[in-house]
């Protein structure tokens, strides 16, 4: 009885299985998107050459749609072969079997194409530690930062982070604990095979299957004697991702990537299954661990592909459903606009209209001088009947170079150069500020400015530029490592700090390069001067040429991480400075251009602005290149750069979005609201209320941006609103978020309240003139939002004031309300 029941049961399960198998297979296209009708197939590459038994490759297959665009079908077609010269596995990889030429037939629906394959050799090669074992270790994740790649390893077993040091890893696997981790006599009993497969308990869990390709690599390597080819075999030298940029039309559609590793000896490998993938924006496109990208929603994602120490990217644009989109010609004010529109056309976005003159004047004043225009300035600008574009250019030309402009950019530089009395002393911050002020006032070319800073020597009192070096000094000891991190992040936009302890995990920079750079700064010395707190920067020739590498303990000769530097002469700083500020340095001008762009558009073309790396590509590379070229051609002229940006139509766009650009955040299709900085708020409040802020230690009437450093304060307002302490070169040290404490402070705090009721302030002054409520309201709107109120606004405000206890109180309430409105708090 039991037996028959059992058979019945099994049959039932089998039938159900079959049923569901069928239904699942047919449902699969329903879950994903239906593949549209295809008129033609193509494969990339169009022919394959295989050399050696382990040279296993895949091809990408795409189909031409009726809509005229190609879509990826790589994982869809069937691959058939007429002879036994190749074998095709379930993942569509083609394995060589016998030498000769053959053809693989690629079939999808009614279409098929022939893929010629030339098998040059089917020889087996010994397993290479460098080219086979190390990538397998990385792919299994053994050397990840959370596992054995951690600074102290895990459970007594330490690998170099993401495999940057093959020699060290070989030593660890082979000689550590007298060869505990492998077993040449019984390879399968090796700890390095038992652990990842959970053959013995492994805290990291099972990270490898016992019959996987990677298991076979480890096994064969051990059986062949755990040999090292670290010295003899060169690592991969170039990583090619195909496609490196593509558009996926609709969410749900897919794109298979193909990754080829190229070696210095001219050979290459298909490493698609061994590379490591991540998506910069999984909301827009996800990527599987076999390099299979799936579009999720409209947006732009960068797929970062890592193989060994190399990184490459594939930029994916998911277009989404844009039916009905039609590009409408928009005027171009200068080259910026053309390049911005090129990108917008690609992603099917229409730019916003121009902003109004009133919006423009407030935006421009805040961006160029840090302070909003006064009511008189606004009224004069609005009353000017000149052509709007010309009028705006005129204002730009007027503002650039004004004292307020100089103060504002002095302040900005003082932030970035860490002008802070903790490092410089009180006298130092004043002197350094003055030196920066003079440089901005004379519009010193950016390269000269940086050269003056880096090369500065002598007393920081007599030569204030030398104060720059004090931020890299800890208690009179100059720190070459801090200098390296500051210089690279500030002047190149590259974050080198990771490389202090290990090779950079997301970039090509190595630990060696970090110390090679450091050696240029090893001879900088700091000593005390005669005056109190005076510090002197000098070249300390007693230090012998370079810094020590922490791993080897030996002096590292100075070298630059890319390009080439002059031979070191008397002063090592001279060769590094020449290299740094050179026109040929691909990062120096570019990072500054990107930074300045972000100050005006609210976002860098590369964002964050001081984290330029291949895994963080620009949203518009051509625009960044063009701006850079222009900047260099014009002699690193920052005023020219600012003028070019602000005279573009792109800068002058409205914050109002349209149907096609409302979701765009990265392509500069509309203006972005930016919260005023701490100092801007305080200075804007001062303009609005007519009340001068009181800071101790500076002359009366000083603006907040004129404060020498963060030691001078005003009762915590500036700190609360994100003024940086100037202890870091990172732009991120300044914050401009909005939080409850900010709102409460603006509503209830003494700073705003006292300014509004200031007896010397705007309201008291105006009401004393006995003006009518309508004029009063207009004045208050002009002073805060830099525009005249609409009829409705005016009517409501007049009504409110006339019902108030007094005109003064009513007007003060209005002022308070407007200061607390987003239109005031944001640069729009």
């Amino acid at each position: 009885m039991k037996a028959s029941l059992s058979i019945l049961g099994i049959l039932l399960v089998l039938i159900l299985n079959l049923y569901f198998n069928v239904s699942v297979n047919s449902d699969q296209t329903a879950v994903n998107i239906e593949i549209p009708k295809i008129t033609k197939l193509k494969s990339m590459p169009e022919a394959l050459v295989l050399e050696g038994k382990h040279d296993v490759r895949r091809v990408l297959v795409s189909g031409l749609t009726l809509g005229g665009y190609w879509i990826d079908l790589s994982n869809e077609p069937s691959f058939t072969t007429t002879d036994t010269k190749v074998r095709i596995d379930s993942d569509g990889y083609i394995h060589p079997v016998a030498v000769g030429r053959t053809t693989v037939k690629v079939t999808f629906r009614r279409h098929s194409i022939d893929l010629p394959v030339n098998i040059k050799s089917v020889d087996t090669q010994p397993v290479s530690f460098v080219r086979d074992v190390m990538p397998a270790i990385s792919r299994a994740g053994c050397n990840a930062g959370t596992c054995h790649g951690a600074a102290k390893g895990k459970n007594g077993f330490q690998l170099s982070l993401r495999g940057y040091d093959a020699h060290l890893d070989y030593q660890t696997l082979v000689t550590d604990l007298s060869g505990r981790r492998f077993n040449r006599a019984r390879p399968a009993q090796s700890l390095m095979l038992l652990k990842p497969t959970q053959g013995v308990p492994h805290g990291g869990g099972q990270v490898m299957e016992a019959d996987s390709r990677h298991y076979e690599i480890f096994h064969q390597w051990i059986a062949e004697g755990v040999k090292s080819d670290v010295v003899t075999t060169e690592k991969v030298s170039r990583l090619e991702v195909i496609p490196n940029a593509t558009e996926i039309h609709l969410p749900g559609m897919e794109q298979q990537l193909r990754v080829i590793a190229h070696y210095p000896d001219g050979t290459s490998r298909d490493v698609t299954r061994d590379a490591i993938y991540s998506s910069s924006l999984p909301d827009a496109a996800t990527v599987s661990d076999s390099g299979f990208v799936t579009a999720v929603r409209r947006g732009e994602a960068v797929i970062l592909v890592r193989y060994e120490s190399l990184y490459s990217t594939s930029e994916i644009i998911v277009i989404g459903d844009r039916s009905g989109f039609k590009w409408a010609e928009v005027s171009q004010y200068n080259y910026i606009d053309g390049l911005v529109y090129d990108k917008l056309k690609r992603v099917r976005v229409l730019p916003s209209d121009l902003c109004t003159d009133a919006e423009f004047i407030r935006r421009l004043y805040l961006d160029l001088t840090g302070v909003p225009p006064t009511p008189d300035q606004v009224q004069a600008f609005l009353a000017d009947h000149e052509d709007s574009r010309k009028k705006r250019e005129g204002l730009i030309d007027y503002l650039i170079g004004q004292p307020e402009y100089i103060e504002y950019w002095t302040h900005k530089w003082a932030d970035l150069l860490q002008s802070n009395r903790k490092f410089l002393g009180e006298k130092g911050v004043w002197l350094f500020r003055k030196w920066i002020y003079d440089s901005v006032a004379e519009n010193k070319p950016y390269d000269t400015f940086v050269r003056d800073l880096l090369m500065a020597s002598g007393s920081a009192y007599q030569n204030p530029a030398a104060n720059y070096h004090l931020a890299s000094t800890d208690k009179t000891i100059y720190q070459p490592d801090v200098a390296v991190e500051n210089v690279t992040q500030l002047f190149l936009g590259i974050r080198f700090a990771c490389a202090k302890c290990h090779d950079h995990p997301f970039e090509k920079w190595t630990q060696n390069q970090y110390y090679e750079l450091g050696s240029y700064f090893s001879e900088v010395g700091v000593k005390k001067g005669q005056l109190p707190d005076e510090q002197i920067i000098y070249n300390n020739y007693s230090v012998n040429g370079g810094v020590k590498h922490p791993k080897t303990g030996t002096i590292v000769p100075a070298n630059v991480p890319f390009g080439s530097a002059d031979k070191i002469g008397d002063d090592p700083r001279e060769s590094i400075t020449n290299w740094l500020v050179s026109k040929d340095n691909p990062w120096f001008a570019k990072s500054m251009v990107n930074r300045v762009w972000s100050y005006f558009l609210g976002r860098g073309i590369v964002e964050p602005v001081d984290d330029i790396r291949s895994s963080n590509p620009p949203s518009n590379a051509k625009l960044l290149d063009a701006l850079t070229e222009d900047f260099i051609e014009n002699g690193f002229d920052l005023r020219h750069l600012m003028r070019t940006i602000t005279t573009s139509r792109t800068y002058q766009q409205s914050i109002k979005t349209n149907r096609w650009n409302q979701e765009d955040e990265i392509n500069f299709a509309h203006a972005t609201a930016r919260r005023l900085t701490a100092e801007q708020i305080l200075d804007a409040v001062s303009v609005a209320t007519g009340s001068q802020p009181k800071f101790s230690g500076v002359p009366k009437g000083s603006r907040a941006v004129q404060l020498p450093d963060s030691n001078l304060d005003d009762g915590g307002f500036l700190k609360l609103f994100g003024r940086p302490e100037r202890e870091s070169v990172c732009e991120c040290e300044r914050t401009t978020q909005v939080s409850l404490s900010h709102a409460l402070n603006l509503i209830n705090g003494p700073t705003i309240a006292n300014a509004i009721i200031d007896p010397q302030g705007r309201i008291v002054q105006l009401t004393e003139k006995k003006i009518d409520n309508r004029t009063l309201v207009e004045e208050v709107y002009l002073a805060t939002l830099c525009r005249v109120p609409s009829e409705t606004e005016s009517g409501k405000a007049v009504d409110y004031i006339s019902k108030a206890d007094s005109q003064v109180e009513g007007a003060q309430d209005l002022l308070w309300a407007l200061i607390n409105s987003p239109s005031f708090l944001f640069n729009r």
Partner: protein
């Protein structure tokens, strides 16, 4: 689904297999999940009727689940919740939360409570167990939670290993009379005539790795210490007269390291990966003492000249002195051990209470074991007699000459340096053909030293001339597979001619670094 799979499926009645088959056919989709649930549900339903006569096996069904999904965190070296899941006994014992199961009562069993639920509390950071797996556990407990683990010890009645490549030499030593050299192999120690001219015996045991080989001073007993990594540690006691195993004693869940024998041959000390050092009484064949004052693996031990104290050192960089009788910690010998590297090996002066250490920071250091000065601020490293020069690479082996006048230091860079103890001067450098050196032994009465290491070859050097006197591969190689051309290739070693080869010794491995 192939015929083979279906027939397996019909025979095996395993839920897991069924899931595997499903996975092969499908991608993970919503429908797949529904299918899983329905299938599992049906299978359970049918299982209740149809398959109740095929009991669940702990060894075949349950242990693999625990191994894959649970052992990472519940294992001897990381017993989270005080729970170990590597053996049936440990599972039954349970952890801090109580016994893992009550046989016959799945609903009262803690383990089921933890692995089921939505989401289940275990595995903590891993994927939840499949419903079918949970059902297996339930049925196994319902059926009485029987242990059917086969007795693995019978496995140690082993055939001699066959080798195609020499295994590393992790330990070698001379017999007290100097006639025999004992060398580690895989699961065995090989006894050769001390010039390598003849293989005398193969002492086969169950430990994959041999970490220490020690002759009792009266030559009656040979002690072999080692284990199988991440599984067990073992002390083997062999009768030297008959070459028979007298006793095998297991200790800890991992290989044990750096063993030493007390001068009276009564106590054996060794270091463990569970951060303890342990003392075993040779007479009782039992653990006598456990010392847990280290914070990382203990890799070296030694006894003082009078046997009253022992010294331990390891990865935590500390060198600690402990009294044997009481087990009391006495002193940190290298009190200023801040900044020092992990200690890999320690050895005692043959006549004096001095300890020589070597390790990751590449500097051999000689310390006085018993302090003569009061420790105070600014005077913390008073026991240090001499720090020798920094070696070219990490040190894995150190040894004293029989008279204590010289030391040998072996580094993984492939050389052994001999120093004069009196003034720390370098006497000579022995070239180990750039193979990592793991072990060094001075001959007890001839002026020569034997070294072994990564390439699995024993090399014997004359300490008068510094010449390589001979080299041999201690294990018999299955030569048909591997006999190749190599001897000529390595030709630079001048002593090649004087290999007193036995029939096995044909292969010279080269170029392995």
């Amino acid at each position: 689904m192939s015929c083979n799979q279906i027939s397996k499926f019909l025979r095996g009645s395993s839920f897991l297999l069924m899931l595997d088959i499903l996975k092969m056919n499908l991608k993970l989709t919503l429908v797949y999940c529904i299918q899983c649930f329905i299938t599992v549900f049906l299978t359970i339903l049918i299982g209740h009727f149809a398959w109740s006569d095929s009991p669940i096996s702990y060894y075949q069904d349950i242990q693999p689940i625990l191994q894959r999904s649970c052992q990472g965190c519940h294992q001897p070296s990381q017993a989270d919740g005080d729970l170990i899941l590597t053996s049936y006994e440990d599972l039954r014992r349970g952890g801090t939360a109580g016994a893992a199961f009550i046989a016959g009562q799945p609903d009262q069993s803690l383990i089921l409570d933890l692995i089921s639920g939505d989401p289940p509390s275990m595995p903590m950071d891993g994927d939840p167990l499949a419903p079918a797996e949970i059902e297996l556990v339930r049925r196994w407990i319902a059926e009485g939670a029987v242990n059917d683990t086969p007795n693995m010890d019978t496995d140690s009645a082993i055939a001699p290993p066959q080798y195609t490549i020499p295994p590393v030499i992790s330990s070698l030593t001379y017999s007290p009379d100097g006639d025999i050299i004992a060398v580690s192999g895989y699961r065995e120690v090989l006894l050769h005539k001390s010039d390598g001219s003849q293989l005398l015996a193969r002492l086969l045991g169950k430990s994959d790795r041999i970490e220490s080989i020690i002759y009792a001073s009266d030559s009656k007993m040979l002690i072999i210490v080692g284990g199988t990594p991440a599984k067990f540690g073992e002390v083997q006691m062999w009768d030297t007269a008959t070459n028979k195993l007298i006793h095998s004693l297991e200790s800890t869940y991992d290989t044990i390291y750096g063993a030493s024998l007390s001068p009276d041959n009564k106590f054996l000390a060794f270091g463990c990966t569970d951060k303890t050092a342990r003392i075993v009484s040779i007479l009782d064949k039992k653990e006598f003492l456990r010392f847990d004052n280290h914070s990382d693996w203990v890799l070296g031990t030694l006894f003082t000249t009078d046997g009253s104290h022992f010294v331990t050192g390891g990865r935590d960089t500390a060198l600690k002195l402990t009294e044997l009788k009481s087990g009391s910690f006495i002193d940190d010998i290298n009190a200023s051990n801040k900044g020092l590297g992990a200690i890999h090996t320690i050895v005692r002066h043959p006549k004096l209470d001095q300890v020589l250490s070597g390790g990751a920071d590449r500097i051999p250091r000689l310390y006085r074991i018993f302090r003569q000065k009061r420790r105070d601020v600014g005077n913390t490293d008073f026991n240090l007699i001499r720090a020798f020069e920094r070696q070219s690479d990490v040190i894995n082996a150190v040894a004293f000459s029989p008279d204590g006048s010289q030391i040998a230091v072996g580094a993984v860079g492939g050389e052994v340096r001999i120093y004069k103890v009196a003034d720390g001067s370098l006497i000579m450098t022995l070239d180990a053909d750039s193979t990592a050196v793991f072990t060094i032994a001075f001959h007890p009465n001839k002026n020569q030293v034997a070294i072994g290491g990564f390439d699995g070859q024993v090399r014997i050097f004359n300490l008068g001339s510094g010449e390589l006197m001979g080299e041999f591969i201690p294990v018999p190689l299955d030569s048909a597979l591997t006999r190749v051309k190599k001897v000529e290739e390595v030709g630079t070693v001048k002593a090649k001619d004087i290999i007193k080869a036995t029939s096995e010794i044909k292969l010279v491995v080269s170029g392995m670094t």
